[in-house]
């Protein structure tokens, strides 16, 4: 099992360093960081240097690393690190460099209960909670905002950027915690259009995620659509919601799912994913992109992109960003918004040769467009350069909307005891995973 666990900042500084077995050199954090930097992109999650095994995950820009001299179970070691990250998140509210630096003693405590001699011990938030004596130190409020909302939206995974989500960014140790539970249905869309706006590939990856602050961890019963069907038969058409496949968290009993579409849940504290599912069938893509490329002259190209929001007018996308790579040989590029455009920006990043078009709010049914005027360097002609435009990638989030129509019919708290009826918050969020239009 793990010999050491350490957490490094994006620059390689050690924030946490715990040696469980003292059977590996002490210089492993440097060894790790040096090796990780040799990769052109992100480093492989598992690699070995000089017969020392390194397993790591990256969360909030931080490297969470486990080392070993044994032939680890790869999935287990990464799941353990992921669980550790979730514990830290449950106790500290968020996971980022500042929070970790402020709470490093608390994290040592968590580590100490979670691992003994490198073997996983108590790893459920509610099991560790009574053993923890330190209080989480909250970072400065304004810095939270900074860390959560980078100016340019990165391609986050299951991290919603809507305001409501702030509610769950708090510690399970909070004494004045309301008795409540948050249920989120996230769907990440993967759509690939070819140059004639025809969908080549599409799929949905979704999950039902809960963040529980329920007192006493009462059992729950969660009911889903009655027309839900799991497993797709070839050539079968059904009006219902068809999931290709799904899997469940340890705390879920899915025996009644086939019969009456309900899940029985024994919720742990903090955040956990009740169920993951994937859908490969056709669905109406919420956004459509129409790029038009014109060669004005041998050194000038004009790109026009139309974006259409194809969903109900009552629904509003909280942001929609479009990223357009342009030729390496571009001398200059001018993105032009439509006159009177509101809550919209378009910028040219001359280093990366990318146009970032950001739309703050977009209602269903609306249409936006952007015109980009490109001037090329003399070394390339418009004809060859146009091949280098694209693919256009979109990044968006639509709250209170889901494509699969998977719904939570009810969430029942089975043994409520004497406490008041806890609050149950249900949200639907649709995000882009890989939303790409080729040119």
């Amino acid at each position: 099992m793990f010999s050491q666990i350490f957490i490094l900042s994006p620059r390689g500084d050690t924030i946490i360093n715990r040696d469980f077995r003292s059977d590996l050199p002490k210089s492993t954090p440097e060894t790790f960081f040096r090796q990780a930097k040799t990769y052109s992109g992100d480093a492989n999650p598992l690699f070995n240097v000089d017969c020392i095994q390194f397993a790591h995950i990256k969360r909030g820009g931080l490297y969470i690393v486990g080392t070993s001299r044994f032939n680890l179970q790869p999935a287990m070691s990464l799941e353990l690190l992921d669980r550790l990250a979730k514990e830290i998140k449950d106790f500290c509210g968020v996971i980022n460099e500042e929070v970790l630096r402020k709470n490093f003693i608390l994290i040592y405590e968590i580590l100490d209960e979670s691992f003994d001699f490198g073997y996983p011990q108590l790893m459920a938030t509610e099991q560790i909670k009574p053993l923890i004596v330190n209080e989480p130190i909250q970072p400065q409020p304004d810095s939270v905002m900074n860390s959560l909302r980078p100016k340019i939206q990165t391609f986050n995974i299951f991290v919603p950027n809507t305001m409501g989500s702030q509610a769950v960014q708090r510690s399970v140790l909070n004494k004045n915690q309301a008795n409540e539970i948050f249920v989120d249905i996230y769907e990440k869309l993967n759509v690939l259009f070819n140059s004639s706006a025809y969908v080549i590939n599409q799929s949905i990856e979704g999950c039902i995620q809960m963040t529980s602050f329920l007192q006493g961890n009462p059992p729950l019963k969660l009911a889903l659509n009655e027309d839900l069907q799991i497993g797709r038969q070839q050539g079968q058409y059904s009006a219902g919601v068809i999931l290709d496949d799904c899997n469940f968290h340890e705390c879920v009993n899915a025996n009644e799912l086939d019969m009456n579409k309900t899940l029985r849940i024994q919720p742990p504290d903090g955040q956990f994913v009740v169920m993951n599912y994937r859908i490969s069938g056709d669905y109406a893509a919420p956004f459509r992109l129409f790029p038009i490329i014109e060669e004005i002259s041998s050194s000038k190209i004009e790109v026009t992109i139309k974006l259409k929001a194809c969903f109900d007018a009552k629904i509003i996308a909280s942001y929609a960003n479009v990223r357009i790579p342009i030729p390496k040989q571009t001398a200059n590029a001018y993105p032009e918004l439509v006159k009177n455009a509101q809550q919209e920006t378009a910028e040219y990043d001359s280093n990366k040769k990318i146009i970032e078009w950001q739309i703050k709010k977009l209602c269903g049914g609306q249409e936006r467009s952007l015109k980009i005027k490109l001037t090329l360097q003399a070394t390339q002609t418009a004809h060859t350069a146009r091949k280098e435009i694209g693919p256009i990638a979109m990044n968006f989030e639509i709250p209170m909307f889901n494509v699969s129509r998977l719904q939570i019919k009810y969430l029942r708290i089975e043994e409520r005891g004497n406490t008041t009826n806890p609050h149950r918050w249900v949200r639907y969020i649709t995000q882009s995973s890989s939303y790409v239009c080729r040119i």
């Binding site: 992109g41 003693i105 490969s280």
Partner: protein
């Protein structure tokens, strides 16, 4: 234990050795030490917490704060759990370097092990067991044995881990623990069971780990759902080593486990698959059913994994592994799941491309070619190259469909240089196997954007092989003559020029001549290449036709490495292990514990050396003056490496004795210096002898005795009839002693350390001799 420091220290000015620890941070650490000392008496826990926290912060940064050990020991007598937890973390981290002082801490740990609160009992025991030095064991074992039968599972599970820790320090203390651990597998608490399994596996590693009986398997399976994810994964991993008695038992277990495939934790799903695979490995039909059954859960984990890209990568590696074992058809339908996404990191995209190359088949090839074609123009060069390689691999594996791929690859030639380079290499492989594709490759071969070394070699090979069909072949080859290139390339060039010469002699004659000239008249040319060129030259002069016949009578290649898409070595890889990720057999990346112990020791030595070098560079060590220099042994302050020849000399004359006159009289060092030297030096010599005389076996008498032989006491303490003393002295170099009289066991223990290992041995002899003379030992 009551340690006291030799009283003389205070009066004598400290020697200059303390400069060893002059560093940027020395000041800071000293300040911290004072701060801790002052805060100890404070009543305000909040203030104390802050100070202790500061120490831990330094520790995390990798700054050596072991100097504060005594103060932290004192501080450990607190009732504030917040402080206690931090202090214990500190103590366990630095105990190894402060063995003598660590004894002070033990009593606190022991007291807490008997606390009424199981949380504190468990916590104290865990930390007590983490004190990594041999002397602690005696205190450890009673505590562990008691805790193994504690009423609280938290304490029990901690005690089991304690056994493993002891096992790595002094396994002989664990006699017959296995039996008890086996018993604990029937404990009520799941975590106790899991820890017992881990402990048995480590302690019995030499015998292949815990023994699995049918009874035990049934029992664990029956309770499987009581365990958390990691527990389940551990049990399943154990189960994969089990061989069911008959098919009925096998199917029973498999049916029981099947629903676990729906789990969202990849560790469990992979562990179940491993059980299935191992159970059915000798039943090909069932095995194939298993693979078909596990496909959907694997694909689900590979596409979702709660946004955990690292897990996704692991699953993809396992899918690739299964596909490469000859089950690629299983995944062919799901090819779109392995398309690259825009937001995925490179490592995921690369493995997906490898999977796509494996699962391509007639019905998905059309879509896949378009898709891979798109990746060729990706901004990331690595992805672009990999997708070209993937196309090449498909062409080699599916020769009937190769035509379309060659055409597509040819269309990339107007793009970037690195694309052309990669395409040429892929073409070389395709053409070797199936020469008929040459007509589709002509255009790209004659383009001039080949820049990479390997691609040039590939190009030269193609030109030679297909010289008759490529009009420009001789002239392209000519451009490589005399250019500064690698020897490998020149060898290929020589071969190719000859090949073309035999089919197009009139055009090639002059060019070949140029080549011979440039090779044979180059003084610095590789000798093999020169020989080869000269050989061909003479042969051609003699009888060109004969050579031509010989040359064209080539060996027919009909087996290609690429065709064997089943990697033989890979068949032996253990599923759900790092072998699958690295694609290497386990012996290539796992080394025994000793290997790492050496690494750790080397690391320590380097550290000391660095410190020593930096000080010697500044000032010569004054102690040197005290030595007679007639011996050719270099003194301590010179880096160890330079001493090595001398070390050899010493070991050749082991009879050499140390004489009392050569020891420095009234040599003095500081306590901190002693501590750090003692911990940083490697193990020297060690002896245990029977105590012969009890009357002088006390602190004062011993100090006097050693003093007489110019060895000086620096710390001493007595507890439970064990007298422990530390001495030092300086001869050619410094020597340090740990001296222990154990009246319970009637033994005398002497550990000696020195900067020169042979000196430790000689000094040991020296002490042993005078102890014998005084009849303390026999």
């Amino acid at each position: 234990m009551r340690p006291h420091y030799a009283s003389s220290i205070a009066s004598i000015p400290p020697p200059k050795q303390q400069q060893y620890f002059e560093g940027n941070r020395k000041g800071e650490v000293n300040e911290l030490k004072i701060l801790v000392k002052n805060t100890l008496s404070e009543k305000d826990d909040k203030k104390k917490r802050e100070v202790v926290k500061k120490v831990i912060a330094y520790m995390t940064l990798g700054i050596d704060v072991s100097k504060i050990f005594p103060e932290m020991c004192m501080a450990s007598y607190t009732n504030d759990m917040v402080q206690k937890k931090m202090i214990y973390l500190y103590l366990t981290t630095y105990a190894e370097q402060n063995k003598d002082l660590a004894f002070m801490a033990i009593s606190t740990f022991q007291k807490d092990c008997k606390h009424s609160d199981p949380k504190i009992r468990g916590f104290a025991l865990r930390n007590l067991c983490s004190l990594r030095f041999s002397g602690a064991i005696e205190y450890l074992m009673p505590a562990i044995r008691e805790s193994l039968s504690d009423i609280d599972p938290y304490v029990r599970k901690t005690a089991i881990m304690g056994c493993v820790k002891v096992y790595y320090m002094q396994p002989e203390f664990l006699s017959n623990i296995e039996e008890q651990l086996y018993k604990m597998i029937s404990d009520n608490d799941p975590l106790v069971i899991i820890n017992a399994i881990h402990a048995l596996n480590e302690i019995l590693a030499a015998e292949g780990g815990m023994a699995l009986s049918k009874k035990l398997v049934d029992y664990l399976l029956g309770r499987l759902k009581e365990f958390n994810e990691w527990g389940q994964a551990t049990i399943l991993d154990e189960l994969s080593k089990y061989q069911p008695k008959d098919d009925k038992e096998m199917f029973n277990i498999m049916n029981l486990l099947e629903e676990r495939l729906k789990h969202s934790c990849s560790a469990i799903v992979l562990a179940v698959i491993k059980v299935f695979m191992n159970f059915t490995k000798n039943k090909p039909q069932v095995y194939e059913q298993v693979i078909t059954r596990v496909k959907a859960p694997l694909v689900t984990l590979a596409s979702i994994s709660e946004g955990n890209l690292e897990i996704m990568y692991t699953i993809l590696c396992h899918i690739k592994f299964i596909a490469s074992k000859g089950y690629n058809q299983v995944f062919s339908q799901d090819y779109k799941c392995f398309y690259c996404r825009v937001d995925e990191p490179t490592y995921i995209k690369l493995i997906k491309l490898e999977i796509l190359a494996l699962i391509a088949c007639d019905f998905n090839l059309g879509d896949m070619l378009n898709e891979l074609g798109e990746y060729v123009t990706d901004v990331d060069q690595e992805i672009s190259k990999k997708s070209i390689q993937a196309l090449g691999a498909i062409a080699l594996r599916l020769p009937d469909l190769a035509n379309a791929i060659v055409k597509q690859l040819s269309s990339f030639i107007t793009l970037q240089d690195y694309i052309t380079n990669e395409v040429i290499i892929v073409f070389k492989d395709i053409l070797r196997k199936d020469p008929k594709h040459i007509k589709d490759c002509l255009e790209i071969i004659q383009s001039d954007s080949v820049t990479d070394q390997n691609s040039k070699i590939a190009l030269i090979y193609i030109l030679g092989q297909f010289g008759s069909q490529i009009p420009l072949a001789p002239y392209i080859l000519q451009t490589f003559i005399g250019v500064a290139e690698s020897v490998e390339l020149k060898h290929t060039l020589l071969t190719s020029c000859l090949k073309v010469f035999f089919c197009r002699a009139p055009e090639m004659q002059e060019i070949l001549g140029q080549l011979f000239y440039s090779i044979m008249n180059n003084e610095n040319e590789d000798i093999d290449l020169k020989d080869r060129a000269a050989f061909y030259y003479r042969a051609l002069q003699n009888n060109p036709n004969e050579i031509k016949k010989l040359w064209q009578n080539g060996i027919k290649v009909d087996k290609f490495l690429e065709e064997q898409n089943i990697n033989k070595e890979a068949l032996l890889f253990e599923f759900n292990s790092l072998s699958v990720i690295y694609e290497k057999s386990v012996n290539k990346f796992i080394k025994p514990a000793e290997y790492f112990n050496n690494l750790r020791n080397k690391e320590l030595q380097d550290q000391i050396q660095e410190q020593q070098q930096s000080t010697t560079a500044e000032k010569p060590d004054p102690v040197q003056d005290g030595f007679d220099i007639e011996h050719d042994i270099t003194v301590s302050n010179v880096p160890i490496v330079q001493n090595q020849p001398n070390l050899l000399e010493i070991s050749e004359q082991p009879k050499q004795k140390l004489i009392i006159d050569n020891f420095v009289l009234d040599y003095r060092i500081e306590v901190e210096y002693f501590e750090s030297m003692w911990t940083s030096l490697n193990n020297g010599a060690s002896i245990t002898r029977t105590l012969a005389r009890n009357d002088i076996a006390n602190e004062n008498a011993m100090e006097q005795l050693f003093n007489r032989y110019r060895l000086y006491n620096i710390a001493a303490g007595e507890e439970d009839n064990v007298l422990q003393m530390y001495f030092y002295g300086a001869h050619k170099c410094q020597v340090f002693f740990e001296f222990e009289i154990n009246r319970n066991l009637n033994t005398v223990l002497l550990n000696t350390k020195s900067e020169l290992e042979d000196y430790a041995y000689l000094a040991q002899k020296y002490v042993e001799d005078f102890l014998k003379q005084s009849n303390l030992i026999v």
